[in-house]
């Protein structure tokens, strides 16, 4: 069955055509809703075609890591709800959810998007922890890019809650946002047969040979990579995929404004 779907997908791609009428290097229509979750300190919902992801930011106060006593921390978590895809099952996060969270985390962390030095409350004792939760409502492919975009928009939307002693007053947010230094964009390029595509549908994802997620900063510097899929990539492939990702990142970057 998968073999047939694969052949069918490839036949389309030969003609620079996708199931939904797009070209190989086109994204589906994207829409963004910001600050939609009132109980979160920052939030965003990104819709990419029929894929829909909510990112929510919560603040916590905790102890810093001993090796960086003057820096706050950031954590990204993803829950692949069985609501969003009939193939997802209840239970603790599986490897798919963990990879998604870690790839989004890496893009944000390595681009130094958040100035964690400014999240220090009392050196060695108290720092802010920023937790970003990624929740797909509906998965029709490309959770990586949709989630990374939602995460970054939610981070930009977040406002510090009031701090009273050691306790957070979640009812009252200040008008202070997170200290943001850079704004990464993640683009995932898939290789199916000899074809390269972006923004895969669920069906296309199910027959991929390899994928490469490339996070880039505003100046084009690459800040995180993740290769997936069962087939290896040649250096020429990698170069092509990075070129595609760099070009496409400019398109997606406008949603961060």
């Amino acid at each position: 069955m998968t073999e047939e779907v694969r052949r069918h997908v490839i036949n389309y791609l030969k003609h620079d055509l996708r199931y939904d009428g797009r070209k190989n290097l086109d994204y589906r229509p994207i829409s963004v809703e910001v600050g939609l979750i009132k109980t979160a300190e920052g939030s965003a919902k990104v819709k990419m075609g029929d894929t829909e992801v909510i990112a929510g930011v919560k603040f916590e106060v905790g102890k810093p890591y001993p090796d960086i006593p003057e820096e706050g921390t950031m954590m990204v978590n993803a829950e692949l709800l069985p609501m969003s895809n009939p193939l997802f099952e209840s239970g603790p996060p599986g490897i798919q959810a963990i990879e998604l969270a870690r790839v989004v985390d890496r893009g944000i962390r390595e681009s130094k998007a958040i100035d964690t030095k400014k999240l220090c409350i009392k050196p060695g004792e108290q720092v802010w922890t920023v937790v970003v939760d990624l929740i797909p409502l509906n998965d029709d492919g490309n959770l990586f890019d949709a989630a990374a975009l939602a995460a970054m928009i939610a981070i930009k939307n977040a406002k510090f809650p009031k701090l009273e002693g050691e306790k957070i007053d979640y009812k009252h947010l200040t008008d202070k946002g997170l200290p943001i230094i850079s704004e990464p964009i993640s683009i995932t390029v898939l290789k199916i047969g000899e074809h390269f595509i972006v923004d895969p549908l669920g069906t296309e994802e199910s027959v991929l040979d390899s994928r490469l997620t490339v996070a880039t900063k505003d100046d084009g510097t690459i800040c995180a990579l993740q290769k997936g899929g069962s087939q290896p990539l040649s250096l020429e492939d990698v170069e092509k995929m990075i070129d595609i990702a760099t070009t496409k990142s400019k398109e997606l970057r406008k949603y961060l404004r």
Partner: protein, 237 residues
Amino acid sequence: MIMYKKRLDGRKFDELRPITAKVGVIKNADGSAYFKIGNTIAYAAVYGPRDLYPKFLQNPEKGILRCNYNMMPFSGSGERVRPGPSRRSKEISYVTEAALSPVVNLEDFPNTVVDVFIELSQTDAGSRCAGICAASMALADAGIQMKDLVAAISVGIVDGQILLDLDYQEEAYDKGDVADVPIAVIPSTGQLSLLQMDGQISKKDLMKALEMGKNAVNQIIEAQRKALKARLEVREK
């Protein structure tokens, strides 16, 4: 003595918070719904009837209804909610199943399961009731045979005053006693399929509160029906 004379958000004592109801919100699901009441938002997605594993859970007489209630990590009004099931969420899943089972007919689908996933993206009290309202719409949207819809709402008493649809600041009211009574009503028979209570209330007040809840259910049912009808009209086009 009634001390709570004016509601903190200015509502009348028997007034619901504003409701938004939609169906068909999750494309992958066989049926789905969104139910917002005040600042509480519930999504529900239905998958099935589909194969049930492990096999020993199967019922050769009829399909089973399996509900799963979950709060998204950022949906609580205070700290982040740790992901994964808790004692609270398991109990709510269980009473939700019981609230919906009486109206759902799965006799034609032996050995299968109908999964109902209820996700709260934002809460301000009344989340199990919002979840049941959404789930009931999602089941109907999935084309599951049902005798009726189910509507759920909380009633209660705050410092002597009987109220409909408590919000979080009323549930947490600390200047007097509070009782919170979530109920689910099957409108065609007027019977209750969910009844829980925490707090303290006299029998007389409880019966009055339940009566208030039963009367309010019509407004919820109307919102649910309207959403389902609108979906059918879209399909016809």
